[in-house]
Symmetry: C2
Subunit: 598 residues, 2 copies
């Protein structure tokens, strides 16, 4: 049996509470995605990922992906599990039925992705990157390109990659140098080196569709001169048959702290003259196209934080019940207590669970807002939903990935010395989690995006709407939720003041906004988490009143208690961050850091 | 050349500012430890550790300690470096000259230990454990035991271990089961299994002196029935010659997330009938003896947080100057800036450095207070100093080790994707750091120690004195330090209120104090850090006014700026923690965590 079990009850609660699943299912095109169907789908996914994928997680970490005679060999079991994943059709759930997809809401796709990622994050990156490539082709590929690539990618028979990073172009994508020259047949010849390409080569599928950012000879400098190309590992004939190998090879794979099962490749394009590439859309529009898929990709990486936190939480909760150590307050003399009875262990466990619930709420809300933005019949709702999506994305990405490290670290701490021993398993989650704050835009980049692009939307109107929406819940926080309500109101006040400060100072001097960016992002994220936990508490309280069984009521009361803990004890963090978020940039430049060298 | 360089300037500044080195050197017995001698010693240690020890760090992590044919083989270079360490006499600096030690203040020993640990933490654990064993024998061994073991241990020719943990006895030491039966010759026969024994076996020295906690047959249960034994790996003849091997063997070594160069052993005592052990002091007094050495051990582990932070900081600062990426505010269009110019990168760098300075201040102050407590001619000063030591120890251990993870994590973040690649080196420090929050009393245990044992000292008088001492600095925080002073005053106020709450509620119900323990510890530690940074700012401001060179003045102004950053932007964290530190335990028990299982 797997040591991971999909948290179906929590997932459905979050779908109901934060996605309004019934409303999403009523959107045009989603009629088949009613609650029962979704619940059955999630349950089936839970079984599959626990039985087939989760058992590959540990060996994936221990053995890792290897480079053997110039070819990437994935860890034992990966290829088999991937074959079964493709056969079961899990990769196509949220995509266009015209190309073989399931046509389910993005929120449902995200739920499946959570379960897959909890089962094996390194493994999940192959479908995740494929999803990004599908997303790009769906939006910007020609009809012919879509017909050639999408059906095989949606089944998962072919996988996808995103080739952005180069040695001198990381956060600064505009610095990339890979060249693309137009050939006489209208295709391009690509020459250059890309690094950090997840699943850039592997033995799990018959073809890999690389999407590659490159510059044409006359392209303008920076991000305005980037074009996007399809560079299949094996060329595809007009009849869809696979032809010879393209001029792409793996130069090496990285030795990383975690996600060892995921081959992180250095790809060399054009060593033999030039890899054949096909332009997507227009030349020099590559960066604009990247932006259209960025929200999905960033949401998915935020989700990795949640998924690892959930994976680490489950064995930690079991361990805390099984491990006897010391006498807890009130326990009989001479008896050892399960450590779950010790106050400080409880604090760690509640902190883990509260962050997990808050992350799930935020990420699911974000995904459902994407569905509304794309499918709602009312253009006004679409527009407002898209604004909320854009505002939430940096929070979903940065806060969830930072919390992924926090929660997996607490998992180690609860395990004590055993947590530091690799065989226990929780150390892997901590190592895996650390990359998520870095890739798909570092969390510093997310913070810059928030203060530089998102706060100024509608001259601050979007964030003002969000603050107003958060206040709406306050009136209902009565009874046992009163103290939590006081904390939430104080947090919203503090967030509003910090928001005003960042907006006003940023308008006068962008440096001040950038200096404030990271602590401000955290403030907005934690307060948003507090608001979502208020909604959780209210929904669970209401549902508990009408519970059909003791078990159901107890579980719902647990969700109230966890939400209260968040609001009363974790949410106040924002007050400690306000001085940093409202300080001018000058404090950061008061010293030339080189004088701090030893 | 090593990529690590001992931060001599910072170390001497901290010794002068927080230890009052001249005063320490004037204590009886320390007359030879004048400032010039200490400075020369530290400089020489810096050279040695950088040249000899630091180069073994990476290979120690990559190869790790291995178990080959039942014997532990340390990583390449470890035995040679250790031999040179012994030849140079570094291990004996703070110990009793009567047994060959250097008789230097503990604060000076701690400085050398910082440098050694920065050079290679895994390696440093061998001298660290030896130091603990020396400490125990010095205080509680018989004259004969001291004469037999101390000289060889102080030179480092023999190393030491501490054997406490067993599979069912981790934080709960009192649950240990290893048996010790008295033999006719007055020695004991030890039978049992110990786990997590650092350097429990190795190939770097000719003998290992295990100190083993065990129970005699008629011992009372729990911590009151623990005795402490010397169990040498090789028996020692009356003439000091090494005899046959004792009945101790390595059953296995752990596969850990970090400190791979340090063999973490499962030791099996008495498989062939019983290992020969010699009682230290009295039966059943073992736990009391452990307490006398606990402060030193906990301070040393706190120091590991600082040492790893410093080690990770140095390459990160260099990288931030060398790595060009994006355009910083104010930089010319079309040019890439060193990332050190980006506000968010500066925030990360200043955060790292501010925490490093604050940790060093706290740890050195703590060590100097130990010297005063042990050597000051005035018994009143000794008593007050010991109280301060006892109060600070849990802060030194828990806060510094947590910050070790924070700072090494920031080192990875500044490096971006490269930070996650093992070859870069900073990932190792992050992995190494994670154990420090766990061993030598988990940080939860430290927090329980603080609220359960330390706050109640003199009915709260000790912590009240500390708060008063912190207030004394406020008057001098004028001019550019005014804002920082306002923050420090607010933090002290908040800490005072939280202290009162924990003391009052804890008196009524210990559970409430235990529930508050971790956030309260953090509050007291951060505020103490703020006070120390205020002292740093004042001392550096005064010294800058009399600086003898531009270079010196610039460096001192840097220390002012770093201290201000701490006080203005990091110190306010305390306000976000107050609600958790003043909440009743009930919130932690509002839900039975088992209902939160998936």
């Amino acid at each position: 049996m797997s040591d991971y079990q999909a948290p179906l009850r929590d997932i459905l609660f979050a779908l109901d509470t934060f996605c309004d699943l019934d409303e999403i299912a009523a959107l045009p095109g989603f009629e088949h995605a009613d609650r029962d169907t979704v619940a059955a789908l999630v349950e089936e996914a839970g079984r599959f990922m626990a039985d087939v994928v989760a058992p590959t997680n540990r060996v994936g970490d221990e053995v890792g992906a290897r480079l053997v005679d110039g070819e990437v060999v994935t860890p034992p079991g990966f290829a088999d599990a991937y074959g079964r994943y493709v056969d079961a059709g899990w990769g196509g759930v949220p995509f266009d039925p015209e190309y073989g997809g399931g046509g389910f809401p993005w929120a449902v796709g995200l739920v499946l992705q959570e379960i897959l990622t909890s089962a094996n994050m390194a493994f999940s990156m192959c479908p995740l990157l494929t999803q990004g490539a599908i997303d790009m082709l769906s939006h910007h590929g020609s009809t012919e390109q879509k017909q050639t690539y999408l059906p095989k990618m949606i089944t998962g028979e072919w996988t996808g990659t995103m080739n952005l990073t180069e040695p001198e172009a990381g956060s600064d994508v505009g610095a990339l140098r890979t060249r693309a020259e137009r050939a006489e047949d209208g295709s391009y010849r690509i020459v250059g080196t890309k690094i950090f390409i997840s699943f850039g080569a592997h033995d799990m599928a018959e073809n890999i569709v690389h999407l590659v950012l490159a510059r044409t000879p006359d392209a303008p400098p920076g991000t305005k001169g980037i074009s996007c190309f399809i560079v299949p590992e094996r060329l595809v004939g007009d009849d869809g048959s696979l032809g010879e190998r393209n001029d792409v090879r793996v130069a090496s794979i990285e030795h990383k702290m975690g996600i060892n099962g995921s081959p992180t490749c250095v790809l060399s394009f054009g060593d033999d003259g030039g890899a054949i590439g096909y332009l997507i859309g227009e030349e020099n529009a590559g960066m604009a196209y990247m932006f259209t898929m960025m929200n999905n990709a960033r949401l998915s990486v935020g989700l990795e934080g949640l998924a690892l936190a959930e994976r680490a939480w489950q064995p930690t909760l079991r361990f805390a019940h099984e491990r006897l150590q010391g006498r807890a307050p009130g326990a009989p003399r001479g008896e050892s207590s399960p450590i779950v009875e010790h106050p400080d262990v409880r604090r760690m466990l509640l902190t883990m669970k509260a962050y997990i619930d808050a992350m799930r709420a935020l990420l699911y809300l974000n995904a459902a807002s994407m569905d509304r933005a794309a499918h709602h019949p009312d253009p006004d709702v679409r527009e407002r939903s898209q604004e909320l999506v854009d505002l939430l994305i940096p929070l979903s990405k940065a806060w969830s990935t930072d919390l992924g490290s926090v929660v997996t670290s607490l998992a180690i701490q609860v395990h004590g010395g055993m947590g530091y021993v690799e065989e226990t398993g929780v150390a892997q989650h901590y190592r895996d989690a650390r990359i998520t704050s870095i890739y798909e835009g570092t969390n510093g980049i997310q913070a810059m995006d928030l203060v530089g692009r998102k706060l100024p939307m509608r001259a601050g109107g979007v964030v003002a709407d969000h603050l107003g929406r958060m206040r709406e819940v306050l009136d209902r926080l009565d009874g046992e939720l009163s103290d939590a309500g006081v904390q939430l109101a104080a947090a919203i006040d503090a967030t509003e003041a910090a928001t005003r400060s960042v907006l006003e100072r940023g308008a006068a001097d962008p440096s001040d906004a950038l200096a404030a960016a990271s602590p401000y992002l955290r403030i907005l994220a934690v307060t948003t988490g507090g608001w979502l936990m208020a909604r959780q508490a209210l929904a669970a309280r209401d549902a508990a009143a009408g519970a059909r069984s003791d078990d159901e009521r107890t579980s719902l009361e647990g969700k109230v208690a966890v939400a209260r803990f968040f609001m009363e004890q974790l949410l106040p963090e924002v007050h400690g961050l306000v001085p940093a978020a409202t300080a001018p940039a000058a404090g950061l430049y008061a010293v030339d850091p080189s004088v701090l060298a030893p």
